[in-house]
Symmetry: C2
């Protein structure tokens, strides 16, 4: 496999929760950092995209974690742009521990957004070719999630520091909104084993969201994040008791 | 000066706000990471303190930032344990940019907390001597801040991921609570030049806080963070228009 990019990373105390295990939010933001490092190495980072008034936006994660690393652990984060078509770019991430064991895999979908019109733009060879993915017309559609029937909800107001360089709430922040409503007693005793997250609509400063969830079956939850009337993200999460 | 510990650090996109400048929260958490790295090098990190049922807690920051570093910048973070007495340990941090210019200085006060009783414990030679600070009886008391007369307030509910290994809200999270209520229009146009923050009482899971602030004069704000009836933190912040 070509164009695999890697970065060693030592888990910092601030990447972990109160039990000392890496949070999903931290895993996602370090993964995205690795893809940014690859972009920098290929002269395709924000300094290339900003003058084109473009930014990368993530529309989907499909992830599986077999073991959560702990503070002080030294990992290697890997990433590879796998394929792309007119609108979607697919990128994988995986984490390897010191024993050489893969402990997490993240499949992701990126799109290019015009920073003024907020519309998705077509991907060009010039932008994407250096990453070495395969150009193919295959579109990966995620699982269609059922509607929530009996959800409980928790409100979150967008904070200034939730925003990123694309002037909207950074995708990693959604993991806090998705998981926090399950509350400490549950979160201390359960780990996310698998998650499918789809981002439908960006969330902006001044908005409040409601994060709703319900149990589809034991240890499987369905989630929706909504602003007034709009579905912004949905997720299905498979939990494991610890 | 002896026992100065340093760590190179490259500013990641997630350390910055929507304008690409490092946030105070990120600056503080990376600074504390450097002190943890020094603790590890001296065999005095959490793996040494946890069996003693102790944790370091920060009670005070007195900081000055002359320039906020931006995404991609490579800095060196320095730290030095300067002095200590029966209850208080004083530690400085400073950040140097690639040109060798010091761009920020943080004076901090640490105490040792018993993780069960939540009481402050006396500092022992065995715990602190390896850091090489001077033992002296001098206690640095911060500025006494006036009461708020006409403050506006914003509520924040403690989230599960606000908690750290000491099972309470991590001190860096307070910077989000302190600054967010000033809102985007102000925050985009102003930088924290100097800040004095005192932590009076820990904030636990299940609590909500109110973050109050008022302008003492143009570009100087006073802040209080309170749970029901209790003052948990107060701050004075000097701003600079940008």
């Amino acid at each position: 496999m070509k164009n695999i990019f890697q970065m060693p990373y030592e888990i910092a105390y601030y990447d972990t929760d109160m039990t000392g295990k890496m949070t999903l939010e931290a895993m996602i933001r370090v993964a995205i950092l690795v893809s940014e490092k690859q972009s920098t190495a290929l002269f395709r980072d924000a300094r290339y995209l900003k003058p084109l008034n473009l930014g990368w936006v993530i529309t989907q994660y499909d992830l599986e974690v077999t073991r959560y690393p702990k503070t002080f652990e030294k990992l290697v984060f890997y990433t590879q742009a796998t394929s792309w078509n007119k609108f979607f770019c697919y990128r994988d991430f995986w984490l390897q521990d010191e024993a050489g064991t893969r402990i997490a895999t993240i499949h992701s979908t990126f799109v290019l957004m015009d920073l003024t019109s907020r519309k998705i733009k077509t991907v060009t060879e010039e932008i994407i070719a250096p990453f070495g993915g395969v150009k193919e017309n295959k579109i990966y559609r995620g699982e269609k999630l059922p509607p929530l029937m009996n959800a409980s909800g928790q409100d979150y107001r967008v904070r200034y520091f939730d925003l990123d360089g694309n002037q909207h709430v950074n995708n990693a922040k959604y993991f806090n909104w998705l998981l926090d409503p399950l509350e400490k007693d549950f979160l201390k005793g359960h780990e996310v084993k698998k998650a499918y997250v789809r981002f439908d609509k960006e969330v902006m400063y001044g908005e409040s969201i409601i994060s709703q969830h319900e149990f589809l079956e034991e240890n499987v939850t369905l989630h929706q994040i909504k602003t007034a009337g709009n579905l912004c993200a949905e997720a299905k999460i498979w939990w494991q008791e610890i």
